[in-house]
Symmetry: C2
DNA sequence: AGGTAATGGTTATCCTAGGTAACTATATTA
DNA sequence: TAATATAGTTACCTAGGATAACCATTACCT
């Protein structure tokens, strides 16, 4: 008897994961819409704010997204005046950084997003949050390793 | 000094969450492609296998997706012969269930997905998995409550 | 009971954000 | 120096979301 009717935790894990993703993305986009931004754009602002600069390939690898997708999002952010190209030795690559405006906007939006994220983490202890952060990082590594590329 | 340069755990939490989503979805779709399925279809098979039957509105609420999206996916699954309508008192609603073929396919795919999910959860204890499952459920509730609907 | 509300579903049309294939320009390497 | 690898772009396609407007049926309210 034992085990037969128990729901397997690994399958339940990803079930919950998918079930959380959509409402999270929906509500994140509602917050971002207040600043005329979308998730894909926000992710890049986030990365550039933290890392100061990045090439398109770097962004592509980091976000597990193909280069043309990055090109498009970066083009849009350039049009908005939030990012700009900086000089680089290697003339093939396009090294991007936030403009002053881009930094300002990021910090602005950050306030909105902080409030949102804090509110929906109500009732989850910081210890648990840190544990989950570590887990998600590990799983990501597992996936990236096994898929080779 | 303290706190000023520390990365806030709530913002890191969702950063990792987004960073995990894309590679997970990519690799999930690779597994599903072996059976000519997509994530959206798989999610519905999953729900119907577990709950025996569901109306389109039920699926729509459950997955936090609008009705037309569900209509489209269900139509495709009907064409594939994996789901069928069952009689219902309320003649407005379309109550769906898995066909025999649908059940068979689900169980087949389940084997593939089990292996995949287990492999990428390497190194995460079952206790931690259960903790994360609980957390994700809570966050989801928080989001759904605050957004009213 | 009859008129109005609400609910379940569909159709048409749009958009985000991803993908592939094929290409150019520049660097690297054999 | 020729061949190869890398960074990025362009053109085009797709999954899977969204909205708006609609029809059919049911529930509700005087």
């Amino acid at each position: 008897m034992r085990g037969v009717f128990r729901i397997k935790s690994y399958s339940e894990f990803f079930h919950q994961f998918l079930l959380l993703y959509r409402p999270f993305e929906n509500h994140l986009n509602i917050q971002l819409a207040k600043h005329d931004l979308y998730r894909a754009q926000w992710s890049i602002l986030f990365y550039l704010y933290r890392n100061d600069s990045a090439t398109l390939v770097e962004l592509s690898n980091y976000q597990s997204v193909e280069k043309p997708t990055v090109t498009r999002t970066i083009t849009r952010l350039e049009e908005l005046g939030y990012v700009e190209q900086m000089p680089s030795k290697d003339r093939r690559e396009k090294k991007m950084q936030l403009t002053l405006l881009g930094k300002k906007v990021y910090e602005d939006v950050r306030v909105t997003i902080d409030a949102f994220e804090q509110s929906i983490l109500q009732g989850i202890s910081e210890e648990d949050q840190l544990k989950a952060i570590r887990m998600m990082g590990e799983i990501r590594s597992n996936i990236l390793e096994q898929g080779d590329k």
